[in-house]
Each structure stands twice: as C-alpha cells, then as structure tokens.
Symmetry: C2
Subunit: 238 residues, 2 copies
Amino acid sequence: MPQLHQVEALTFDVFGTVVDWRTSVTSEVAAVASARKVQGNWHSFADEWRRGYRDGMDLVNKGKKPWRTVDVIHREKLDELLPKYGLGNLNEDQRRQLNLVWHRLEPWADAVEGLNRLRRRFVVATLSNGNMRLLTDMAKHAGLPWDCILSSELAGAFKPDPRAYRKAAELLAVPTERVMMTAAHSSDLRAAASTGMRTAFVARPLEYGPNGETEVVPGGTFDVVATDFLDLARKLDC
Amino acid sequence: MPQLHQVEALTFDVFGTVVDWRTSVTSEVAAVASARKVQGNWHSFADEWRRGYRDGMDLVNKGKKPWRTVDVIHREKLDELLPKYGLGNLNEDQRRQLNLVWHRLEPWADAVEGLNRLRRRFVVATLSNGNMRLLTDMAKHAGLPWDCILSSELAGAFKPDPRAYRKAAELLAVPTERVMMTAAHSSDLRAAASTGMRTAFVARPLEYGPNGETEVVPGGTFDVVATDFLDLARKLDC
C-alpha cells in the first residue's frame, strides 16, 4: 500500500457509507402514512426520493440550475412525491418536518465504533453532498464522532466534481495525497483518486435493501477494500 | 431577553474565549528556549505573537494582502520573533512544530463541561479566525465537543468582517437572528450583532495574564453576560 503512511485524514461519504438512509427514510415515511391510514410501498418512496437527490445534484453540476443545498433538493422532490403516494395533504410544517428525516438517519452497526477507532490515528471528517447543517444534525442524532464536518456545500459543487475533494483537502491543510476518501460507491472513489486522494472502498451490501442492486465488488482498484469500518480500522492499524 | 427562544445555534470565538492561548504558548516557547539555554520573557513573546496575528488579519481585511490562513500569519510572525528573542537558529522542522502550538492550546477550566451542557439544547460551533485544520486539531487535543467547526476561512474574510458571521449562519441554515455569538471580546460581539446575531459576553479576566488589560465589563449591551460557560449554560436553561 504505497504512501498510505502519509495519510493524515480520512474523509467519508455519508449516505449509504455511514448511515442506512433507506431503512430510516422508509420507516419514517411509513409512520407518517400509517397515521393517515394511507397504504403504499414506502421502500419505493425512499428509493425514488433518493434518485431525485442524485438528479437534482446533476442539474446543479451541469449548470442547468443554480447552486442549492441538498435540503432544498430533497424538499423539491418530496413535494413531487407526496401527491403521487396519496400524501398530498401534508401541510407546510409536516413537509418541513418530514424533509428533515435526512438529518435523522441511523448509522450502520459498525460505524460509530469504527470511527472512534480510526480517529485515534487520523482526522476523521465527512465529505458528503449533504449540507453542513444536515450533517451536523445527523452527527448529533446518531452520535457520529467526526473531528470536523466537511461538505460539498463548502465548494459550491457536488461530488463527483473535483472541486469538492480539493476544497476538503485545502481545508484540512494537506495535499490531496494525504487524504483518504472512504465510500461504498466506486464513482465517488474514482473521482477522489483523480484529484490525488487515496481511496478506501467499504462494501454496504444492504444499502438498497436485501434485494437491491449495490456494489459488493468494487468497480476499480482502490488502496484499501474493507468489509466495514472495523475492518477498515484493522487494515489501517487503528 | 427578546427572541432568545428562537436561538438554535451558539457560535464561539475560540482564542481567549474557549482556550487560554497565553499560558499554552508561553509554556511551550519557554520549554523550547530552556532546551537551548536561552533566557527571555516568554509571556512577552506570546503577547507579541498574538498581536502579530491581529495585525496580519487586518492587512488581509483591508485588502493589503491576499487571503492567507492564520497558520500562515502565525508563521510569518514567528519567523520575525525568533531572532529577536535569541531563537533564530531553529530549523524549518522546529519552526513548523512550534507554529503548531496554536493547534494545541488548553481550554479554560469550565469550557468542556460548559459546552457539553450547552450542546444538549443548541448546536455548538466554533466561529473563529483560526483555520479549519487548526480548530479541528485543537478540538481533538483539548476534547472540545463541537457539533461542527466553522471558521472565517469559509468566508475568505476574517472577523469582524460581517461576511464571516453571515457565512456561519448560512452554513447553519438559519437566519442570523437564530445564532448567538459568544465571545470575551466586545468588538467581536458588536460585529456579530450588526449582522442580526444574538450575543453573549463571557468575561475571561486572565486572558492577558493576572496583570494584563482585558475586558471585565462588556463594552456594549449584549443579550447575555456570563462569568463563564457554566454560568452561560445556566442563563440559557441548559
């Protein structure tokens, strides 16, 4: 593993890599629907909401929409999905509350302990497309022990735009070569590597549910491949 | 205390307000000097270094120098001070290490417990002119339980430039009125208030040592005046 001894900071993708967005979102939407006696496929709701997030960011990165936070992108998609799923009568306050479910996601079982081990040796930081307040609220909610919270919001460009990774390294005051990006998604890691970052792939086979399509085998050659954050900590001698 | 119930986040000045920079810097410089059998007034060294930081930031805010981080400003002043105090023979690595003393400052005795109480109810964040990596390292060193680290670096303008306060509120995703700036320095609080922020003054009578000039009585009318962070927590019902 060449040059890994130079790594000072680990930056983490969050949605899917640290937290299980699908279970958290599905269960909160199901509870809202149940209180209204509305039936539906709430896993499908969560999956559509998640796709809307990716599409909304792509429009920004392609210059077709001005910069907006993920909170705003989530809300636009939520307003589109609610009537489609029979929940169009939620009022403004209820919509705002439901949109904040992305601030209340639960971590994968190994995440907190793994981060606590890793931060003994490295600076551990988020590098998510989620906005700063979202990531801050999530850390409080889930007890995620970040040393600092970094976001694409600070670059004004979403991952995989290289500016997001470069801004993180700049704020960590190190060359990109001294930062290791950790993610369950190869596209994120390939973009990080293109800026010079080291890379760690952590498989999250249940991100899209037990029958969902996800990456179990990494789509590229990365510096470390781990089964979870505890395995990552072992492989980095933490 | 009008509108204080709307406050969601507390932002903190750090140098002097959270950490006792003077004692930490003096003792580390004294240890470096002692190992070289160089005598001097190391409190005075620390005070001069601190003044150089203020002067260096003013040059940036006035447009006379391009943006640079506090790490860079500290290093420029350090290189000027070392020969003056008989320490001109420190090599590059020793200078780099000594410059990082600002990443290793010790907190005032009430700071960690006070922040832990305050964060039960509020988002607690730094809002310092120190750069992100400096504040991150300091939090790890001193066990400061920030929910997120924010810095003037993210605005590209040092406090008291209003952009620094506005950027913090933007990243916290709230109007400035929902943020309370906490500092031991009235000038910082007056600038925060000019952007709409709420303000809390916390006296730090020993910031410049037992005989140093400091603000014991706040130079302005602020929403809360507290003797330390535990008193602040009590006054904010935490």
